[in-house]
């Protein structure tokens, strides 16, 4: 029993406590100590264990959250299993919150009685170790995935970077300029793409998807589907003859369908790898059986129509998920024309139209008739902050990208007028508010506070009707082009991927971090980390920061050869388990599986299904123990028997 100087001793009459505790069954020795956590205090415990041949220890002191680990090490020094120790919290929960000795002393006795009742039911627990496979899988080759892969690789570990599209680069590659500095997106991204491709520790798997994930931290088993590219990457030199000669055209996804590409193509000139892919749905050879021009002209003989999807099985110690986002589909807004007015475009489409390598060569021509717009209206919060038709959350990046686009417009075409309809302008980033101020003051962008009620065509223009809520009047603008700042939303296959890997996602299908403040890049599944907008709307600086943070977490994990597992895990009494599987869905970690065991009943051997706990995945929350109807599930360190004993000891 610790005095903690006068912290405990002044409020709890420890002598009285000692007298009461000495009488308890199983209690052999009680002693007091001025500062138990100090070096001599700990030595006293070790000496006590040895002298009295103790096999259980209770320390009555401060909160176990403070010194449980300390005292576990102390008893281990005396050769005792560290889990044969219990702490009675008589400081935070007693002496510090009660003022009178008459109140605090009986309570301290109760707390000690409970700790004694529990500790006699403690059993030795051992941590086991699992080996760590020091290879990381990064899913998604946008800026988040590239950054995470580069950082992990620079820390000296092998990385496989899997990207669904034929090239890495992601959304950032589609952008024209980046806020708040207005540097060209491609200029800062493409060097990183090349770095990733040339890094000796990084292996790029583009045009590939995750098929299956099994295992657990340190030991994931992943199946990757490498889709048939119809081009042998090892042989192809990326010379470009094939796509210059290809006769079939299709809308270019990279340009949001505003321009065209060939059926054999690279998405954009700086694509990495610079190897084309055949879009079989639009290729004449595959649709009509005739053509084969690309194969004929390829000097390297790289075109391979017979190529098939390939399944790769790989082992990884950690996974970084960086799958990014999609844009909200604004066709649900009837008041904005159901996505049918060609001159009502999204912010991303605007990026392509104003980009020098875009479908218009950087000349902002509107999609309907190629006219150069003189009046452009930007509408913010389309699909975001809208419970009725979109999502309630703020999409976080739109205020800044809209300001940027308005600036780009005014910079390129000073004769064009820019209007921005906004509800709030949110600029909480370094240099962001200054950037927004430049938009209004230096570039003369007209900001109007109010949500647009309606957009409708009038002649070859679009009437945008809103309220300027600061004036309190309806306003109308006859616009040539309307740009909707559509919200960032989770990818449509996000939930499926999360289920496949086995971690959780929120109601909007964004991936859930382990703790919203303190564990922002971990998932609740050990060994799986998050980077970028797959976790929630995010701009480039935040994405890169999170990607590097995820990389550090991976590197931390890989700094060890083996991992100690948490010994306080769930355990199944197979004898009483009825195989009802009620425990399974309560487990947030997917740690419970069902296995079949053979049993002898009389002379026969019968097989029976029972639950089994994967101790690598179990985090010891105990939810399954309560779901278990037959009481077969228990939690080591917090067993039913231990907790009931505490209850009874307190109620005595």
């Amino acid at each position: 029993m610790c005095w903690c100087g006068s912290n405990i001793a002044s409020t709890v009459d420890l002598d009285r406590v000692q007298k009461a505790v000495e009488k308890l069954t199983n209690v052999v020795h009680v002693e007091q100590n001025k500062y138990t956590c100090s070096e001599p205090g700990q030595a006293q415990i070790v000496a006590g264990i040895r002298e009295h041949n103790l096999d259980r220890v209770v320390v009555a002191a401060c909160s176990p959250r403070m010194h449980e680990k300390t005292f576990q090490r102390t008893v281990a020094k005396a050769g005792l299993n560290p889990y044969l120790l219990e702490i009675a919290n008589i400081r935070e929960h007693c002496s510090w919150v009660h003022t009178s000795v008459e109140e605090a002393t009986p309570k301290a006795i109760d707390l000690l009685r409970a700790a004694v009742a529990k500790v006699i039911r403690n059993t030795p627990l051992t941590t086991s170790t699992i080996p760590v496979e020091k290879r990381a899988l990064v899913i998604g080759g946008g800026i988040a995935g590239i950054q995470a892969a580069l950082d992990i690789a620079d820390a000296g570990h092998q990385v496989v970077l899997v990207e669904k599209e034929p090239t890495i680069g992601g959304r950032m590659a589609q952008l024209d300029k980046t806020f708040p500095t207005l540097d060209c997106s491609a200029c800062i991204l493409t060097p990183k793409m090349v770095d990733a491709a040339q890094h000796p520790k990084i292996r790029l798997l583009t045009y590939a998807e995750i098929e299956e994930v099994g295992g657990y931290i340190g030991n994931f088993e992943v199946t990757i589907r490498k889709k048939a590219r119809s081009v042998n990457e090892d042989v192809c030199t990326g010379c470009g003859i094939c796509w210059s000669k290809c006769p079939s055209k299709a809308p270019n996804e990279f340009d949001c369908g505003l321009g065209e590409r060939k059926a054999i193509y690279i998405p954009f000139p700086q694509a990495v790898p610079n190897k084309p892919v055949i879009d079989r749905e639009n290729c004449r050879y595959f649709t009509k059986g005739k053509c084969g021009v690309c194969k004929k002209v390829c000097p390297a003989g790289a075109v391979d129509f017979e190529q098939e999807d390939e399944l790769l099985r790989e082992r990884f110690g950690a996974i970084v998920v960086a799958t990014g986002y999609e844009l909200f589909d604004h066709s649900v807004y009837g008041e904005y024309g159901y996505g049918k007015y060609p001159d009502v475009i999204t912010g991303l489409e605007f990026e392509r139209l104003i980009n020098a390598s875009g479908p218009t060569g950087g000349k902002l021509k509107r999609p309907s008739d190629g006219k150069i717009p003189k009046t452009v209206v930007f509408v913010k919060c389309v699909g975001s902050r809208d419970e009725a038709k979109g999502f309630p959350y703020c999409s976080r990046t739109c205020c800044m990208y809209t300001a940027k686009q308005a600036i780009l417009l005014r910079e390129k075409m000073p004769e064009a007028e820019a209007y921005v309809f906004y509800m709030d302008v949110r600029t909480p980033g370094k240099g962001y508010e200054e950037f927004y101020t430049r938009a209004t003051e230096e570039f003369g962008v007209n900001y109007l506070r109010g949500r647009v009620a309606r957009i409708y065509p009038k002649g070859d223009q679009l009437v945008v009707r809103g309220e300027d809520t600061l004036v309190g009047a309806q306003v109308e603008i006859e616009a040539d082009l309307v740009v909707l700042a559509t919200a960032m939303v989770a990818r449509r296959d996000a939930a499926e991927l999360a289920q496949r890997i086995g971690f959780s996602y929120d109601q909007y299908h964004f991936f859930t971090e382990a703790h919203p403040k303190l564990r922002p890049v971990e998932t609740n599944t050990a060994g799986v980390f998050l980077a970028g907008a797959c976790q929630g709307p995010k701009d480039i600086p935040d994405t890169v920061a999170q990607a590097s943070a995820a990389a550090v977490k991976v590197a931390m994990l890989f700094s060890r050869d083996e991992l100690e597992t948490n010994p306080m895990v769930a355990t199944v009494d197979e004898g009483t388990c009825s195989g009802c599987e009620w425990c399974k869905p309560t487990c947030p970690y997917g740690a419970i599986d069902i296995k079949t065991i053979e049993e002898r009943v009389g002379k026969r051997t019968v097989s029976r299904r029972v639950a089994t706990v994967n101790t690598g995945l179990c985090q010891g929350c105990g939810a399954c123990t309560v779901a278990c109807r037959s009481g077969a599930m228990n939690l080591k360190g917090f067993t039913n028997e231990q907790i009931l004993a505490e209850v009874e000891a307190i109620c005595l």
Binding site: R385, G450, V452, A453, G466, E467, T469, G472
Partner: protein, 191 residues
């Protein structure tokens, strides 16, 4: 505009908001003042305050002010606002609730002719079971003293057979009268 002292007003706002919600105005506190309602309101131009401003006054509990606006009477109940509201606030329903509260408390009404019309309309149904447009027009004109409004139109309609001088006869007129009485009994007459 005079300074609005919110100290007392805000203290009592819950009571007022509850009253508005009891009369059918849903989710008043969800409004975040985006202005989409006012931007799409066809009658906004004739109102002294935008529907959005009315919503704000309700949120703050500015009962006297909001009940003296013309807006609540000029709402045509076209429900464009309610249909488009991103926060699923029934703005048209709030307007309706405010009108009812205004009449219940016998407060001065900014657009007197609007409720006058509705009162005459209902009075004719109460007595005859169905509407009678000729009677409605005639009584409205007498009540407003504007006898010559649309006289020419009336004459042309009469000759097209569109104005019947005598009202329809409904056998169940009596049962309709009873419905009026019971509603008055249960909800209180607000006319």
């Amino acid at each position: 505009m005079a300074v609005v002292n919110l100290t007392e007003i805000v203290r009592n706002r819950k009571e007022f908001i509850d009253e508005v919600e009891k009369h059918g105005g849903k989710n008043v506190n969800s409004c975040y003042q985006c202005g989409k309602c006012s931007a799409g309101c066809p009658v906004s131009y004739a109102m002294d305050y935008q529907p959005r401003q009315v919503m704000r006054m309700v949120q703050l509990g500015m009962k006297d002010k909001v009940l003296s606006t013309s807006t609540i009477w000029l709402c045509a109940h076209c429900m464009t606002c309610t249909t488009r509201c991103p926060r699923e606030v029934d703005i048209a329903g709030v307007m309706e609730a405010l009108r009812m509260i205004c009449r219940k408390e016998n407060r001065p009404i900014r657009e007197r002719k609007v409720p006058l019309f509705h009162d005459l309309f209902l009075d004719i149904i109460r007595k005859g079971g169905r509407q009678h447009e000729f009677q409605l027009a005639a009584r409205y004109k007498i009540a407003t003293g504007n006898l010559f409004q649309d006289v020419d139109l009336g004459r042309r309609m009469f000759f097209q057979g569109k104005l019947r001088l005598f009202g329809p006869k409904v056998k169940g007129a009596e049962s309709v009268r009873k419905i009026f009485e019971k509603c008055k009994e249960l909800e209180g007459d607000v006319q």
